[in-house]
Subunit: 198 residues, 2 copies
DNA sequence: GTCCATTTCTAACGTTGTTAGATTTTCTAA
DNA sequence: TTAGAAAATCTAACAACGTTAGAAATGGAC
């Protein structure tokens, strides 16, 4: 019965369109406009169909968060691939992280919000963390310096990037300034680790 | 007519009780439980009286944010006053900042949420920023090192503290670990600035 | 062409922030 | 002390939210 597979394909298609529509509303109008009825209207359905594809609004938002981290990861990977120099690579990824937050402020907000559970966020963020770990290992090998282990160095950098991205994405300081501050902060930390090794 | 002043006093009293009740609900049960009706019930009134003292829920939340920054400031000032050594003082304030976030997670969340406008947050946070600037100036004088000016050093530290506090307060990493990471990050940055000066 | 399963919609429930209007309380003044 | 003004408070309602139950429509299988 080939029709059942087609039905499944159609179902998945609607699911994807819901996610797409939700992402578009979130990015263009913010979390306040992201209502179930609005999303349903945008995909030309009524509200209850959303619940046939997602357990509830929170589950849908969780998927947006996963999508957001995938975008962030792709951004970071692209930037990293385009810069051969180990030091500059880290700095550019740092600036890219902050830029991502200010280019997708509403998405970044839910990515770090409390609607999503901490463990889910960790899972979604893991690839990005792994990339950061790699970049850090390469830097470490290049300079013969070993920064604090047990993931501490990586978590420090993650924290710094997130902190300065936060300052940037809700206009506490400007966008470009936050990017520069992130680069400076990271450069200073790397220099600090080098100074420790001496 | 002394009664009118008493009336004003009573009005202010109710206002304060509303703020107190709201703060208690927020801290003990989180932002999800913070509804206008709930607050009104807790002060033994009905919902509309809240609107006689605040333009809306957002205005009330804004006051909670101000209150939160005052608490944070008091905490930081107390810690700073208790530590004569310039370097240790900065590290202890850093750890204190992160601890504050994990001891008041829901309050810290709204303090950095999007319900409050960026300019209002800046105003509320200004005293804490000023304290940070002072601590940094003292450190700078002690070591004969001038970190980046134009408030950049201060904003970097602020960002770092906020970032690691965020990692800590929603359990991305544990509480004590986030405190240690903040101390390490700050120590490394200070070392980095010293290394630059040499 | 009939029946069954799936999909979709209509209608509703409870809760939210918020406002209008009635009601009660409190103060002032004769 | 009491009549009337002013303030405070409550009741009732509105629109919008997330969510669910049950009716209506749709589409494939014999």
């Amino acid at each position: 019965m080939p029709s059942s597979t087609r039905r499944a394909r159609e179902r998945a298609g609607i699911r994807d369109r819901i996610i797409e529509a939700a992402l578009h509303v979130l990015e263009s109008e913010g979390a306040g406009a992201l209502t179930v009825r609005r999303i349903a209207t945008d995909v030309e359905y009524t509200a209850p169909v959303v619940y046939q594809h997602f357990a509830g609004k929170d589950a849908l938002v969780a998927e947006l968060v996963v999508h957001g981290y995938a975008l962030l990861m792709a951004d970071a990977a692209r930037i990293a691939a385009g810069e051969p120099d180990v030091d500059r690579r880290l700095l550019r990824v740092a600036a890219g992280y902050v830029r991502f937050a200010s280019e997708h402020p509403h998405l970044y907000e839910v990515m770090n919000g409390t609607t999503i559970a901490a463990s889910n966020r960790r899972d979604a963020a893991q690839p990005t963390i792994d990339l950061l770990t790699e970049l850090l290992a390469a830097w470490s090998a290049e300079h013969g310096v070993t920064p604090p282990g047990d993931n501490e160095a990586c978590e420090i950098i993650w924290g710094v990037l997130h902190g300065l991205a936060s300052l940037g994405y809700h206009d506490t300081v400007g966008n470009e300034r936050a990017q520069r501050l992130a680069e400076q902060a990271l450069a200073t930390i790397l220099r600090g680790w080098q100074a420790t090794a001496r």
